[in-house]
Structure formats: C-alpha cells, structure tokens
C-alpha cells in the first residue's frame, strides 16, 4: 500500500468515526468536538484529491468559522455546558436500523456503477467531452490560480468564449452580505415584555 492509500484510509476512517460520533453522542458539546474531527478529516481528503484551495477554505471557513458559530450557539442556548436531552433507547435502535437500510441503498447504488467503463464509453463517443480541463492532476494542486481566474469570468483552459463563474460569484457575495445583515437583525438582543411589566 502506498503512502497515499494509507493516508486515504486513515482520514476516511476518522471522517466516518467523527460522523458516527455526532449521531451517537447525547451531550451537545461532545457532538461539536466530533464534528470538528469529521470536518478536519474531510479537509484532509480534499487535499488528497489535489483540491488544495478547497481544502484550505474548508479548514478556514468550516472548522474555523462555522463550528465556532455552532459552539457559540451551544453556549448561548444551554442551561449547563454538559446538558443532555435524553431520548429513549427504542428511538436509538429504530434510527440505527433505518440509517443502516438507507446506507445500504446508497452504497449498493454507488458500487454497482462502473465509473471507468462509463468514462470510456463517453470518450469513445465524444473525445472532447472526456478531456479534463481546468486543472491537471499531474501538477498536484496549484488550483488557486485557475479557480481565481474562473471567478473573474475567464476560463483560459477551455479557450474560446467559455463563460467563467463571475455572475454566481457576485450573486453569492451580495447574498452573504444580505444574509448576515438579516441574521444580525434576527439575533439582536430584545427586551422581553415580561421583564418590563
């Protein structure tokens, strides 16, 4: 087994263990720690797939931003840090059973498709559609510059008049601004009517 395979299986197992830890834990702070482990492992998997920019953004935004936000929410909404909301064991068995069924459906669907054969069929019919453009796995990363140019609207790898992602980029920027203003307004400190009476 090469080093890449060892690393892949290591991070795959920690990602799955973290995800199962989020479901199994009843104490919400431990769920948050398990989610941090899972998201950091997913970021490592991104790096292994030569998506270096997406992996770095995942670490910065998800692990370093969204989880911190969730921990703020936990601290603001719980009466004690280790508060548990109990659920009966019967619910746990039912949820585990349905989850296992759902996982078996998805796993069967995924493993039954021969991805390489499908790619060869596509390449036989239209060779231009099977060429991977945008980034070259042989260059081991370096996706920051092609991604940045595509967000500016340029796709030099595809040539011609291939549209970039400038419009979605601008829309998402305005969307973020509007959403954060709305969330700040929603979560402002309000005076409770009962305390004024």
């Amino acid at each position: 087994m090469s080093g890449e395979q060892v690393l892949f299986w290591l991070f795959a197992i920690t990602a799955c263990a973290g995800a199962i830890g989020v479901v199994v834990n009843q104490i919400v702070v431990r769920m948050a720690v398990s989610l941090i482990v899972c998201l950091a492992s997913v970021s490592a998997l991104f790096f292994l797939h030569n998506a270096d920019f997406v992996g770095a953004v995942q670490l910065m935004v998800y692990v370093g931003g969204t989880i911190i936000l969730l921990i703020f929410g936990i601290m603001l909404t719980s009466s004690s840090p280790f508060s548990k909301i109990e659920s009966s064991p019967a619910e746990g068995f039912l949820a585990a059973g349905i989850g296992a069924l759902f996982l078996s459906i998805i796993a069967f669907t995924v493993t039954q498709v021969e991805w390489k054969q499908q790619a060869e069929k596509v390449a036989a019919v239209s060779p231009s559609a099977s060429v991977q453009t945008g980034y070259n796995p042989a260059s081991d990363g370096n996706t920051s510059r092609p991604l940045a140019m595509s967000f500016l609207g340029l796709r030099p790898d595809q040539g011609g008049n291939a549209p970039g992602y400038l419009l979605p980029f601008e829309v998402v920027s305005v969307h973020l601004l509007v959403v954060l203003i709305g969330a700040a307004y929603l979560a402002r400190a309000k005076r409770r009517a009962a305390s004024e009476a």
Binding site: V22, V110, A183
Partner: protein, 103 residues
C-alpha cells in the same frame, strides 16, 4: 488516488450523508439538527471534489464545492439566529417543545 478509484470516496460521502440525515431526524437539540445539516453538505462537497478529480468534471466540481461552503456558512448564521430566538421564546433548546403553532 488513481489506485483507490472513485467508489471508496463515494462510500465515505454516503456514510457522512446518512449520519447527517439520521442526526437531523433524531436529535432534539436544535444545534444538533444544525450539525446534521453541516454533515449532509460536507458529504455533497466530498462527492463534488471526488468527481472533479476522477472524471472529466475538472475545475467545475471544485467551484461548486466552494459555492456550497459559502452558502452553508450563510445558512448556519441564519439557522443560529432562529435557534437563539427559539431559546428566547421557549427558554429551552429542545425542539419538541415547539409544538404549538403560535408564539
């Protein structure tokens, strides 16, 4: 990664997705439900990046993953504001107590 192929990564994404859905449906803590949503979105991101690497999807898969990360962050902010308002109104974060259709 060519030795591993596409299916093992998709299986990891499947496990994350099922854990997120079970988390969304069974947790009574409102923040726990938000964590399930984050798991589902990360499973989709993993699928996008895997297909970007192994098929002819190329850079477009990574652009989609970046947009998903941005939108998930925005949605987490709003969902947290909703959870805070719920806690202010009901004095508990247990979503089973939100069973009346009035404030």
């Amino acid at each position: 990664m060519d030795q591993i192929g596409l299916s093992p990564v998709l299986l990891v994404g499947a496990v994350l997705f099922v854990c997120g859905v079970v988390c969304m449906t069974t947790k009574r803590n409102g923040i726990g439900i938000l964590m399930g949503v984050e798991l589902v979105l990360n499973a989709a991101n993993l699928n996008f990046v895997a297909f970007s690497r192994h098929t002819s999807l190329g850079l477009d898969g990574q652009v989609m993953a970046l947009f998903v990360i941005v939108l998930a962050a925005a949605e987490a902010a709003v969902a947290l504001a909703i959870a805070l308002n719920f806690y202010n109104n009901h004095l508990t974060i247990d979503v089973d107590h939100g069973d009346e259709l009035r404030g």
